[in-house]
């Protein structure tokens, strides 16, 4: 399978990365090189093989349903580019 420049632009939109015409063109070539490389996986017979879902066979650990943390609003917003009274500020989303 290979991608064209239209697909690259659509994927960039999905990934929320602005790309120029020139970027998209370069990426098309690079992505096709990588997709060409991974193509060989199709020759592997995987009938009856389960996909890996857990690297180490173990039951998922569950913690007790109790509050362990909190009251850290100032810590949470400390690194944000724009805040006001412990809220993250973003451009207007709803008119």
């Amino acid at each position: 399978m290979s991608v064209d420049i239209k697909t690259v632009k659509r994927v960039a939109r999905l990934a929320r990365i602005a790309v120029s015409e020139e970027d998209a063109e370069r990426m098309t070539g690079e992505l096709n090189a990588i997709l060409g490389f991974v193509e060989q996986l199709n020759e592997v017979d995987v009938s009856g093989v389960e996909p890996m879902t857990s690297v180490t066979p173990m039951e998922m650990k569950k913690r007790q349903d109790v509050v362990t943390d909190g009251n850290k609003a100032a810590d949470i917003v400390a690194n944000a580019p724009a805040t006001e009274e412990n809220f993250f500020l973003v451009p207007k989303v709803v008119e």
Partner: protein, 521 residues
Amino acid sequence: MSDLTQLTISQARAKLRAKEITATEITEAYLSAIERANPALNAYVAVTDDKARDMAKASDAKLARGEGGSLEGIPLGIKDLFGTEGIHTQACSHVLDGFKPRYESTVTANLWADGAVMLGKLNMDEFAMGSSNETSYYGPVVNPWRRSRLDTVVMPTTHQGDGGFVSAGGTRTARTLDNAQLVPGGSSGGSASAVSAFLCAGATATDTGGSIRQPAAFTGTVGIKPTYGRCSRWGIVAFASSLDQAGPIARDVRDAAILLKSMASVDPKDTTSVDRPVPDYEAAIGRPVKGMKVGIPREYRVEGMPEEIEALWQKGIAWLKDAGAEIVDISLLHTKYALPAYYIVAPAEASSNLARYDGVRYGLRVPGKDIVDMYEKTRAAGFGREVKRRIMIGTYVLSAGYYDAYYLQAQKVRNLIKRDFETAFAAGVDVILTPATPSAAFGIADEDMAADPVKMYLNDIFTVTVNMAGLPGIAVPAGLDAKGLPLGLQLIGRPFDEETLFQTAHVIEQAAGTFQPEKWW
């Protein structure tokens, strides 16, 4: 006083406990070494000298009371991927500009609890994506090793005045260092370069496809990626969550064992952290390997592999045989599919993990006309080319209609890779010996690598299988190539059997010796 930076961790530990040296002295020795060397090597992106001095002082107080922890007063470098409270943590990306977390990663917290001293944050490939440390926003790291050539020098008959010597002529051989700068490997290139150049006693690193073992092999250092679930991933910037593991890079096998013992723990904050006590890895060093079954996988004999790598592998086999191990040929049938499967699984997980960098909660923000425009501009400006490439691949393989063909297929192949290892171990193989990398360190801005991303990816061909199967793997220096560059061997073990890796790697180290670059910086 001799240069304190030359001491291994085990030597420094003994001298600190015996009060022959102080934590402050050894910390100062490293800080001045960093000041001198970092402009040439670019291994550190942030030096925390004030904090290092405070921590060293606290260690000296503890040592004076005879209360020191297992790493009391040992100065370490920390890869920029580890969250360190109040200190530069950017995964060497522009998108995390100015980020100083309000928390400490579990691995580094373990090290500080044991008394280690933080020297600073180490350079790396952006978000750990790369095999040469050239994708860092902070520029490439330089390998302290350089190529050299052996020349026959004709010695003229000379008379040196002022009571000097008289040379009788004749010839001698001399190694001449080449000026070309080489990469230290990646993604933990800063860690490997700093350890190799004596800019820290040991370093933390992480490994998603080979990022500890490949740079260790390129710099003549020891690097271990433990079993998935052995070190907590909590507080480490995520790349590919089902593959990422932290581990140490150190100057010898014993130091790596000492560091891993401190870094590893059972952590309720990481649901994939495995509930098993951490053994005393150092105790495994020196145990005989007599009777041990060492597997040699025929699929690792890849096309185009330099003869020197094959010769090194044979040397490793001979050393272990001499030590009484039994060598058996094994087959790991799906080896060649590990790298392509990795380049689906890792980008897929990365595209999801890196979705959080949107200019809202931390790091860089580039204003836009609306919120989506802001996201797109922030991510376009904040991520480098390689990171964008991987996010794009990951987004594509997870997009509607392609998930089954790519991601699901790759996860099935991954189970087959794991099964190959399980079959070998079930047949009684204790440890598997392979080369660590298909070549020695290459040049910075290598044109072939720059032109074709897949060529760069092939660096991880021997290491990536281990991440796909979640197994432990160690890279140990085994010799120098004809150009005087270090080459490493890799040992792969059963899940949670890091002890066998330390035990076997030590036998190789005893036979091969340790390697230091000639100082030019």
